[in-house]
C-alpha cells in the first residue's frame, strides 16, 4: 500500500510492506531515513528551513520546518527501534522554483538540514537536490529502496 505524505507531514513505519511517497517536492525538502536491521523507515516533507519565523506554528506543525521536523523524524524512528548508527539518510528536493529567486527557500532548506545533521554527526548517504524541477520521493519500507521521480524519469537514490 502507498502512504502519501503531504506537505509538512511525516510518517514512520515499522516492518511494513508499504511504500511511503511524497509528491511535489519543489523548494521543499524530502528526507527519508531507514534502518535495515529493524526495518524502520520514515519520510518527512518540510516546507521551510527555520522555525524561528513562527514558533507557535512550529509547535502545532513541527514537520513544516526542517529544524523541528527532522529531529522529530529521528526521535520517532528511535522509538520504533531504529538505531542512529544504522540509519541511512537520503534527501530530495530543494529546487529553485522560478518565483523564489529572492528567498532561495530550496537552498536554505538544504543548508539547514546539512547544519542539523552535521551537528548531530549524521551523514547524508544519497541526495537528488537542486535544479528547477519538482520531484516525487518514494521509500519502499520492505527493502529500504529509495527512488526519485522527476520529469517522468524514475531513478534509484
Amino acid at each position: 500500500m502507498n502512504y502519501t505524505i503531504g506537505i509538512s507531514e511525516m510518517r514512520i513505519l515499522n516492518q511494513s510492506e508499504d511504500v511511503l511517497v511524497t509528491y511535489s517536492l519543489g523548494s521543499c525538502i524530502g528526507v527519508t531515513i531507514y534502518d535495515p536491521a529493524s526495518r524502520v523507515g520514515g519520510m518527512i516533507h518540510c516546507m521551510l528551513p527555520n522555525s524561528k519565523i513562527d514558533l507557535q506554528k512550529a509547535r502545532s506543525f513541527p514537520c513544516m520546518f526542517v529544524d523541528t521536523g527532522v529531529p522529530l523524524l529521528f526521535s520517532e524512528a528511535y522509538r520504533l527501534g531504529a538505531q542512529k548508527d544504522r540509519i541511512i539518510v537520503k534527501v530530495a528536493g530543494c529546487s529553485q522554483i522560478l518565483d523564489d529567486k529572492m528567498f532561495n527557500i530550496g537552498e536554505r532548506n538544504y543548508m539547514i538540514l546539512r547544519k542539523l545533521l552535521w551537528k548531530n554527526s549524521v551523514l547524508i548517504n544519497a541526495e537528488n537536490v537542486g535544479g528547477n524541477d519538482s520531484r516525487t520521493l518514494y521509500l519502499d519500507v520492505t527493502s529500504g529502496l529509495v527512488t526519485v521521480k522527476s520529469r517522468d524519469r524514475k531513478m534509484e537514490l
Binding site: I112, W118, K119
Partner: protein
C-alpha cells in the same frame, strides 16, 4: 584576463600610435578593433564584446559626439568605458562629455605614459569590480557550504555597526599578483559561525578561542577559493597565515569607508569583506619575463 579594445579615429597614424602604446603598457589584449568613424565603431560594438574604447571627436560620416550620444541611448556607456582622444576641446565640451559618462578626455598630442596610466586606472578598476563580484559569490558559497549560514550582499549604507566587539582577519597572497582578502564581523557572529562549523553549542568553554581559529580558517578558505575562481587552477599563489585581531567600531567604519569593501548580511548580522589587488596583475609582460615557462 585579456581585453578587447576599440580605437576609433579617422587617422591611421593615431590608431597605430595608440595601439603601440597599449602594447608598451603591457595591457593584455585579446582583440584590437579599429574604426575610422563613429558609424563603423557602432557596428563593431554591435557585433563584438568590447572592454574599452578610444575615440576621436572630429571624424567624417559620424563624429565622436554623435557616436557617444548613440552609445548613451543604447545604454552602452554604462558598461563600456570610453576615453576621448582629440585635438581640441573646450572646457565646456569636456564637461559635456564627462556628464554623458565618458571616462577621460585626452588632448592630442599625448604621451604614451598618459595613455598607459589611464588604461591602468580604467581597466584596473573594471577588473577590480569583476573580482569583487567573484569575491561576493565565493563568500556566499563558503558561508553556505562550510558555515551553514545564508549571506546576501547588501548596500553598505543600509547597515550600521551595532556591536562593541569585532574580529578582523586578513590573508595576504602573492604570485601572479599581490593583494589580500579580509573580513570583519561581530565577535558574536564569529562564535556562532564557529559553533556551526565545528558542530558544537555556543556555550562551550573554548568558544571564543574556537571562534578566532574558525574565522582564520574561513578567511583562508575564502582567499583560496577566490584566487581559484578569479585566476583558474594553473596559477599558484602563496598565501600568508591568516592574521586576526580584535577590533572595534572604528575599525569597522574605516573598512566600510574603503571603496573595495563589500557589505553582507549573514543571517541577520552585518559583516564586511574586502579585497585589495596590486596593479602588477595586468602587466603581463612583467610577469612573463619573470616566469618564462608561463604564457598567459
Amino acid at each position: 584576463m585579456s581585453y578587447n579594445i576599440l580605437i576609433v579615429d579617422d587617422s591611421r597614424t593615431t590608431r597605430k600610435v595608440i595601439s603601440k602604446t597599449l602594447n608598451l603598457a603591457g595591457v593584455p589584449i585579446n582583440h584590437l578593433h579599429e574604426a575610422e568613424n563613429g558609424k563603423v565603431a557602432l557596428k563593431i560594438l554591435e557585433d563584438n564584446w568590447v572592454d574599452l574604447v578610444f575615440a576621436d571627436i572630429n571624424m567624417p560620416e559620424m563624429d565622436g559626439v554623435e557616436m557617444i550620444d548613440r552609445m548613451v541611448r543604447d545604454g552602452l556607456l554604462k558598461t563600456i568605458p570610453v576615453v576621448i582622444v582629440s585635438t581640441g576641446g573646450s572646457q565646456i565640451r569636456i564637461e559635456e562629455m564627462r556628464a554623458k559618462g565618458v571616462k577621460a578626455y585626452v588632448r592630442k598630442p599625448f604621451t604614451p605614459e598618459l595613455i598607459k596610466n589611464l588604461v591602468e586606472d580604467i581597466l584596473g578598476k573594471k577588473m577590480l569590480d569583476e573580482y569583487k563580484t567573484t569575491l561576493s559569490e565565493v563568500f556566499r558559497d563558503v558561508l553556505m557550504r562550510y558555515v551553514f549560514m545564508f549571506g546576501e550582499e547588501c548596500e553598505k549604507e543600509s547597515i550600521m555597526p551595532d556591536s562593541l566587539d569585532y574580529l578582523h582577519v586578513h590573508v595576504a597572497f602573492n604570485g601572479y599578483c599581490e593583494g589580500c582578502v579580509g573580513v570583519i564581523a561581530p565577535a558574536q557572529l564569529c562564535i556562532e559561525m564557529s559553533a556551526n562549523v565545528i558542530g558544537t553549542d555556543m556555550e562551550d568553554d573554548n568558544c571564543v578561542d574556537d571562534a578566532k581559529d574558525t574565522f582564520e580558517e574561513l578567511a583562508n578558505i575564502i582567499c583560496g577559493q577566490f584566487l581559484t575562481s578569479a585566476y583558474g587552477d594553473e596559477l599558484i599563489f602563496s598565501l600568508s597565515p591568516p592574521s586576526i585581531s580584535e577590533a572595534d567600531e572604528l575599525s569597522w567604519v574605516e573598512i566600510s569607508e574603503n571603496d573595495d569593501s563589500l557589505a553582507f548580511m549573514v543571517e541577520d548580522t552585518p559583516a564586511l569583506i574586502y579585497l585589495e589587488i596590486e596593479r602588477e596583475c595586468i602587466n603581463v609582460g612583467w610577469f612573463e619575463e619573470r616566469n618564462p615557462t608561463f604564457k598567459c
